[in-house]
Each structure stands twice: as structure tokens, then as C-alpha cells.
């Protein structure tokens, strides 16, 4: 596992830190420094609230080596409430079948381990269904 690479991504993985374009106001995640909407520099940080909705989803059954022990797992395309989309695993689904527009929220979970190379564990964002109680409030 490449330690410095994952350490570099800690603010994105743990806190959904992206960017906001100072020129057109677009919110960006993942951060990309050049605004894809207006083409100007966008390096101002913006921390996303962490709520969004499911756009598409799949149950992955044939996994790459690093994820083999987790298969099957559910991967989704999620639209954050501030606009941008990201790809993340769904967790804590229980018997719930995902559906388009399903409200979800970010949680921090184990993404994978380095499979006993050095005993390191990689943590990051996954998304779970927003609890009904939370929706009612």
C-alpha cells in the first residue's frame, strides 16, 4: 500500500473536502483545481455536508484482489446535495434495496486492508441510507 498517497487523500476520504469555484460558484468533488464548468482556477476548499441521493447502483460479485474478501459489495453513483457526483460503496443497507433517488449520507468505514502486507487498514467514505428518524426531523 502506498502510504503517502493515501495520507495525501485523507481530507477527501475522511471529510469530503472538495473545492468551490470562486468564479462561477460550482462545487467540485473530487477536487480538480480547474473548474470544469467555467474553465478557471478553482482551488478554494469546500467541505461537503455529506448527504446526497443514489443515482445508480450495482452489486459487485467479481472483485479485484484488494476487495476479494468483501465481495459481494454494493457500489453506487451518488449525487451530493451540493451538485457533484461521486462513486462510493453503500453500507448498512440491511434488507433495503437501493432505488433511484434514495437519500444517503456519508459515513467513515474501512475501505480495505493491505492484506497483511504490513497490517495497514485504509479508511474512507461510504454511504448509508439516511435513517427514517433523521428524515422526519
Amino acid at each position: 500500500m502506498e502510504i503517502s498517497r493515501h495520507w495525501r487523500l485523507r481530507k477527501q476520504r475522511y471529510a469530503l473536502e472538495g473545492e468551490v469555484c470562486p468564479h462561477c460558484g460550482a462545487k467540485l468533488f473530487p477536487p480538480r483545481d480547474v473548474c470544469p464548468h467555467c474553465g478557471l482556477e478553482a482551488k478554494q476548499t469546500y467541505t461537503f455536508v455529506g448527504t446526497g441521493t443514489v443515482v445508480s447502483w450495482t452489486t459487485a460479485r467479481q472483485a479485484p484482489e484488494a476487495f476479494a474478501e468483501q465481495a459481494p459489495y454494493v457500489v453506487a453513483l451518488i449525487q451530493l446535495d451540493e451538485g457533484p457526483k461521486l462513486t462510493a460503496q453503500l453500507t448498512d443497507l440491511g434488507d433495503t434495496e437501493p432505488y433511484p433517488g434514495m437519500p444517503v449520507e456519508m459515513v467513515t468505514r474501512k475501505l480495505r486492508s493491505d492484506r497483511e502486507e504490513r497490517g495497514l487498514i485504509l479508511y474512507g467514505y461510504k454511504f448509508r441510507p439516511v435513517l427514517e428518524r433523521a428524515l422526519a426531523e
Binding site: 487523500l9 459487485a60 460479485r61 472483485a63 479485484p64 457500489v75 462513486t87
Partner: protein, 385 residues
């Protein structure tokens, strides 16, 4: 400027070549291509490859292959652009010749997928994605295609069964291709019984990564010997366009915009419209790509590409034959070599050498390879001379 033509092609059978190495596969295709035109040696060699650095621990594939094939003193480099590597190697060869820097250039694609098996191959395949934001979530190209397929069904109302048409057509056409990996037609009932890879995408919705090599020799027409044994095929137009690498970064999730842009550019250069091509070798890495490509290329209205699979339009005697030699699904998908197999197969059609799969009076073909879900689209218009 003299016309730029394809003077020779060579292919190995696609499959599991346990006894043959990366360099030997490439050499077999190169020798066949050079043998087609006596007395023409390329001054530049562009080698398309996707996975050798991971699967075979071999980078520097371009110089390796050029050396092994006996070239000395020529320009040699690897071209890597994901699934569009083969298309981009042809592009490099074309530009080298078009610029006047060389008279002839060789585009070679080679992939050695079977040096590893199982989850190791899935890991290698996932390296074409955004490593930080897709692959680290457990995404592979098949998982990404499943997300696209689910969304396509949801937005267009396409029934799950509709996707069977494309792999079934590929298998039907591969029966007549001696280089194809699976030369066997498949029944629809079999399609619906196979293993799920990533719901709703099953084993038949994904083209198999395999071993293979293909070579295409590009030359200025006036640099050729006066007599050539094979009918010539002209590169009439080229168009290349990119899009976001990660699918989640698309504003419009169901628009393969790079497909549209590259088809328009290639046809503009060739002085034709997409409607004036006799066949379309498209990039069916996943069954859901086919309707999205047909829509973006202008052959079907948005959201209705799947309906073309329900008609006879795409068969060998239809109005727009596709996957004429089996496509990625049934010929097999030898990664970096795939784009050059597509070109070589189109050349066979335009020479009238496609055997049982020959499209009558084929004069102009559209050939397109993609990297990922049209993150890069490379389109060529080829014409019989």
C-alpha cells in the same frame, strides 16, 4: 499530399496463448503484416499495450517489440490510452506518415492477459479507472459498466432482455472469423443463465480480456512498390476526442459525447456522413456501450439505441452491420491490440477478404475504439482504393 494507405495487416488468433510470450505474439502479427507488401520497411514502430507493466512486469514494450522483430535504427515507442491504445497507435503511425517524417510506419497492438489469472486480472483491468476515486472504492470496468447499464435501463425504459441482442450478434458473426476466440453461436436462453458479474451485468455482457496481437502497416501511397499484392485501403479520415475519465464526472451520464465528436470529425475529414458508411466496427467492451455508441454516433435517437438490437439492422446484411467479425465480445478483447484488430477486420471487409462474413460491396467503413465509457474515442474512416 499523397494518400495514406494501409499496405499490410497481420493478426494472431485471439485466445489463451499459454505457450507464447508477449514479444512472440507481437512478432507473429508483424511478420504477417510485413509479408503482405514486399520491400517496404517501416521507419517508425508504435506498439499499443495496456497491461504488460502490471500483468507481465514489462514496461518499455515499444522498444522491446521493435528490437525483437529485428528493427534497428527506427523510432519505437509504446502507446497507451486504455482501451483506445490500438486506435491511438494507428493515429501515431498515421501522423508520422502524414507529417512527411517517415514514408511508412507500423502500428502494432499486443496484449498478454493470461500471464496472470482471476482477481489479478481484475486488478490490472481496474488500473484504467481513476485510481484515487473509482478503483479505491472497489470499482472495476465491469462494475462501472454495470452502473451505466442500470442507469440506462432506468432512464430509457430498455428492458433487461434487450441487451442480449448485442453479444448474441457478436457470437453469430465470430463463427466466420478464424481469428476469433469464441467461434460459436449462443442461444438466448444461455445468455440468461450465465453468471452475474455485477448486477445487472452478466458474463455475456462483458468482453473477455485475452491474448493477441495485430499489426497494421501504414504508408504514403507513392512510397509503395509499383505492384502490391493486396488491394489498398485508404485512411480517409481520423477523429479523436476525450471526455472525463471518471464516469461520475459526466454532466450527462447517458451521452457518449466523445463518440459523437470523433465520428463527426472523422467523417468531416473523409467528406462523408455517418449514414454513408457500409459498416461500423464499434467498441462493444460491454453490451450497454453498444446502444450508447449508436445513439451518440447518430444512428439512433437518444435512449433508443437498444431498439436497433431488436431489428435486423445490425446484422451482416442489415443497413448498418456492426461487429462484423465478432466484435470484442466474441473475437475477444486483447486490450491494447483490440483497436488494431478492429482496423484489420475492417480492412478485410474493404478488400473483399472477409470470407463468410463479407459485406457485399463494402467500400467505406467506420472503425472506433474507446477508452472506458468513451473517456477517449478514436474514430477512423477507411475506404477501399
Amino acid at each position: 499530399m499523397s494518400e495514406i494507405v494501409i499496405a499490410g495487416i497481420g493478426m494472431t488468433p485471439v485466445g489463451e496463448h499459454w505457450a507464447t510470450s508477449l514479444r512472440e505474439l507481437a512478432l507473429e502479427a508483424i511478420e504477417k503484416a510485413l509479408h503482405e507488401v514486399e520491400g517496404l520497411r517501416p521507419q517508425a514502430v508504435f506498439v499499443a499495450n495496456m497491461h504488460a507493466p502490471v500483468l507481465s512486469r514489462q514496461a518499455n514494450v515499444g522498444p522491446l517489440v521493435a528490437d525483437f522483430a529485428g528493427f534497428r535504427g527506427v523510432e519505437a515507442a509504446t502507446v497507451e490510452a486504455g482501451g483506445a491504445s490500438g486506435g491511438m497507435a494507428l493515429r501515431a503511425a498515421y501522423l508520422a506518415v502524414a507529417s512527411g517524417e517517415v514514408d511508412a510506419a507500423l502500428a502494432v497492438g499486443v496484449e498478454k492477459a493470461t500471464d496472470r489469472v482471476g482477481a489479478g486480472v481484475e486488478s490490472a483491468a481496474a488500473t484504467v479507472l481513476d485510481a484515487d476515486y473509482e478503483a479505491e472504492q472497489g470499482v472495476t470496468p465491469a462494475v462501472q459498466a454495470a452502473l451505466i447499464m442500470q442507469h440506462y435501463m432506468q432512464e430509457t425504459g430498455a428492458p433487461r432482455e434487450a441487451f442480449a441482442a448485442f453479444p448474441l450478434l457478436a457470437h453469430q458473426n465470430a463463427v466466420g472469423n478464424p481469428y476469433a476466440m469464441y467461434r460459436k453461436a449462443v442461444k438466448e436462453s444461455v445468455y440468461h443463465r450465465v453468471t452475474m458479474v455485477s448486477d445487472p451485468l452478466n458474463l455475456f455482457d462483458a468482453a473477455p480480456l485475452a491474448d493477441g496481437a495485430a499489426a497494421v502497416l501504414v504508408a504514403r501511397r507513392d512510397a509503395l512498390p509499383p505492384q502490391t499484392a493486396q488491394p489498398l485501403v485508404k485512411i480517409a479520415g481520423f477523429g479523436v476526442a476525450n471526455d472525463t475519465l471518471a464516469w461520475h464526472d459526466r454532466d450527462d451520464l447517458l451521452d457518449f459525447a466523445a463518440v459523437r465528436r470523433s465520428v463527426e470529425a472523422a467523417c468531416r475529414r473523409a467528406g462523408c456522413t455517418p449514414a454513408e458508411v457500409d459498416f461500423f466496427e464499434l467498441y462493444d467492451a460491454f453490451s450497454v456501450y453498444v446502444p450508447l455508441i449508436l445513439e451518440a454516433a447518430g444512428f439512433a435517437p437518444r435512449g433508443e439505441g437498444w431498439k436497433m438490437g431488436q431489428t435486423d439492422a445490425l446484422t451482416l446484411d442489415g443497413s448498418l452491420p456492426i461487429l462484423t467479425m465478432g466484435g470484442l465480445k466474441a473475437r475477444g478483447n486483447p486490450g491494447g491490440a483490440t483497436g488494431l484488430y478492429q482496423v484489420a477486420e475492417a480492412v478485410l471487409q474493404l478488400r473483399g477478404q472477409a470470407g463468410d462474413n463479407q459485406i457485399p460491396r463494402a467500400r467505406r467503413g467506420l472503425v472506433q475504439s474507446l477508452s472506458g465509457p468513451a473517456s477517449l474515442a478514436v474514430t477512423t474512416v477507411l475506404e477501399a482504393v
